[in-house]
Symmetry: C2
């Protein structure tokens, strides 16, 4: 057996044992552990920043861009924000232990479902080191053990953060293996995690499409993911056009680099002439490049013709594709063909049209008369978000603490046997 496989199996076994303890931990025990983590992050600030400095130096030497170095840097403000994040999780309701769907069967059996942690969750990410702490806090609060695998450029930072968390959790009386980080940047470790189904119950990949595709293709463990967010706003013939303009502007411009920003604006042909010129002007003034269908280009001089690829591209910047459609059917078909099942909105005053849109658009979030930018765990009132799922199974859309749990059936009898 390779050393890496041995390492991952050992971590898996330790995680499994930790999960067994966490499954019966009280909310008080979990909150005490989280508070210990918050204090430890504060106390180890200097050590963490020294390790982060190693990653930054290596990054500079490898020629990482300024933006990437910025994302990597654990400034005082970022550490403050991580600590505040952990304390916010303390304040969230514990989803574990509640029962639902209770029924008494004719033979007297009492049957219910009980909400329980999933077990051991593997998180594979490329992004900023704060994911280490955010994900660790959410998995702990939901009673799960976590095995983290971060990006190689942040390895020293991530190890320092994970060690700080793990020691703090242990000092509070819960298992050190509640939070583990794979201590090597060897890519073989990811492959071993993805087949460690004896030890890991769920894989959540967070990062670019290439990473996620690799995870999906190689994992024998269930994966919850989203590839991208190609979000649409459809301006219906019966839309309040002033509202539509404000929403479309917000959905594209307020923060274009995130997955719930609008990438394509669909406009009903009945209102295109009235709506598009002023909307286009407002977007252009904000620096938005418009790529339109041929009817859009006719109505809007500033628009370039869109290519076929543009309709299925997550621009993540100030670029917008615009298409004029002949009614709801064409809008729904366009979203089905090019969308990514993330978040799509309709602007309309007609409640029947809205109902049709809600029923027919097969996306994790469907919105009426508001901005796709609200597609977010905190905005939905979930308190915090471990990620967004565009899958159909288990969790769809923003995933909070409850989505990090599953259920078991609990059946209580008085000696019943089956006839």
């Amino acid at each position: 057996m390779s050393e890496i496989r041995q390492l991952v199996e050992r971590m898996g076994r330790d995680g499994r044992a930790a999960a067994a303890r966490l499954a019966v931990a009280t909310s008080e025990e979990k909150n005490r552990a989280l508070e210990a983590v918050a204090v430890a992050l504060e106390n180890n600030r200097g050590k963490i920043q020294a390790e982060n400095e190693k990653d930054l130096a290596a990054g500079r030497q490898r020629g990482l861009s300024g933006a990437m170095l910025d994302r990597l840097a654990l400034t005082d403000a970022r550490i403050d924000s991580m600590i505040a994040g952990v304390r916010e999780v303390v304040g969230l309701a514990d989803p574990v232990g509640g029962t639902f769907d209770e029924r008494v069967r004719p033979n007297g059996l009492n049957i219910c479902r009980m909400r329980v942690p999933i077990g051991v969750i593997g998180i594979i990410y490329e992004s900023r080191p704060n994911v280490t702490v955010d994900a660790g806090a959410l998995t702990l609060k939901s009673g799960n053990a976590v095995i983290l695998r971060g990006g190689s450029e942040a390895i020293n930072s991530n190890l320092a953060l994970a060690r700080t968390m793990s020691e703090a959790v242990a000092s509070s009386g819960l298992p050190a293996a509640t939070v583990q980080l794979v201590p090597t940047t060897d890519r073989e470790a990811v492959g071993e995690m993805l087949v460690a189904e004896k030890y890991i119950d769920l894989i959540i990949p967070r990062g670019g499409k290439t990473l996620i595709r690799r995870v999906v293709e190689n994992s024998t463990i269930p994966v919850i993911k989203h590839y991208d967010g190609i979000c649409h706003v459809y301006v219906d013939a019966e839309a309040d056009l002033a509202m539509a303009a404000d929403i479309a502007f917000n959905a594209k411009v307020q923060r274009p680099g995130v997955c719930n920003a609008m990438e394509t604006l669909l406009i009903d042909s009945a209102v295109a002439e009235e709506f598009l010129p002023s909307m286009g002007g407002r977007l252009s003034d904000a620096g938005v490049e418009i790529r339109g269908c041929h009817r859009t280009v006719e109505l809007l001089e500033s628009a370039k013709p869109a290519t076929e690829d543009d309709w299925s591209t997550e621009f993540l910047e100030l670029i917008l594709s615009v298409k004029i459609v002949d009614g709801l059917d064409e809008a729904v078909r366009h979203i089905e063909q090019y969308g990514s099942h993330h978040t799509d909105a309709i602007i309309t005053r007609n409640t029947e049209t809205a109902k049709q849109f809600i029923g027919r658009v097969d996306s994790s979030s469907v919105m009426v008369n508001t901005s796709t930018r609200f597609s977010d765990g905190a905005q939905y009132g979930l308190g915090a978000e471990i990620g967004i799922s565009t899958d159909k199974l288990h969790a769809r859309g923003p995933m909070g603490l409850e989505e990090l749990t599953t259920y078991k059936w609990v059946v209580t009898g008085q000696g019943q046997v089956r006839e």
Copy 2:
């Protein structure tokens, strides 16, 4: 592109289009389609049996065992039972369209989750041809399109059944592609189904471990499955021993060939001397072979020594492994090490011990003072069962209609934009 891939893609596209229609079908439309299926099965009885006869003849020629030929045969009684099954599904409540978790956010956004079909479900099975009809009825009622792939030995029967269903559904006004069956026995078709993630949302394999392992290893689509049912009954020191004996007897003997039958009996050492000899006698009288730990063998002359493999074997026949354990901790550890997360029961009068067992045993069903044989969709009141899941994600334990649905977030605003 291979012909098989083209075939699967075409079926996938047709299934996707059917699913779009089914997602907005009313309960009345779906029930009308199911009633049409019931009538068509009756009207096509002769044709179906003629096709079944071809499979039986081919099976005889290939030397299939009598038991296998019996499983394959579509007798009048079996067709009656399929028809009755379809009509039962008509009577079940439609899970689609309900909303839950509704909340109004401080900014006035109304947010809820709406229960919706999953979409296109692929079912890969080896077993009896009645699965074709049972699975088709349940997926239709829950608003899903289904792509069925049955065993090669039943291909003519399955094609006749699927064609009958598909034509009946079409005659009722819903899409013919609501129910599709892969019309080839080429194994490549399974491989193509497992990567058709653009068209298929969920794969449910039903069959032996080899089939399920192949599906898990090759699927890029989420899979819900169970490998086996190694169910335990733990007789606690504070058990009502008469009740324990009746339950253990029922769990092993009433129907040993099914996944919720007991495979291992765990007995607390404090009551082993009192309990085991009479229990062992009763089981032996019923023809049960006992394979015990060394302490069991000491107390029970009729018991053979169990091998290490016996603890993790799903016997599915009148064989039982028996272990004497020193208390709850050892029982839980044994179940964790050798169990399959299917169904495990404790027999005890001590409610605190029962609570500990419920919390610590990580199985899809955990039972107190009743027989594992109740782990079943109909017994739980789900009305019907598409399968049992020992996975943690989405559905655990018996899966009924609701487990064939997912949700979407529905967000309704009055023009809100994000600050």
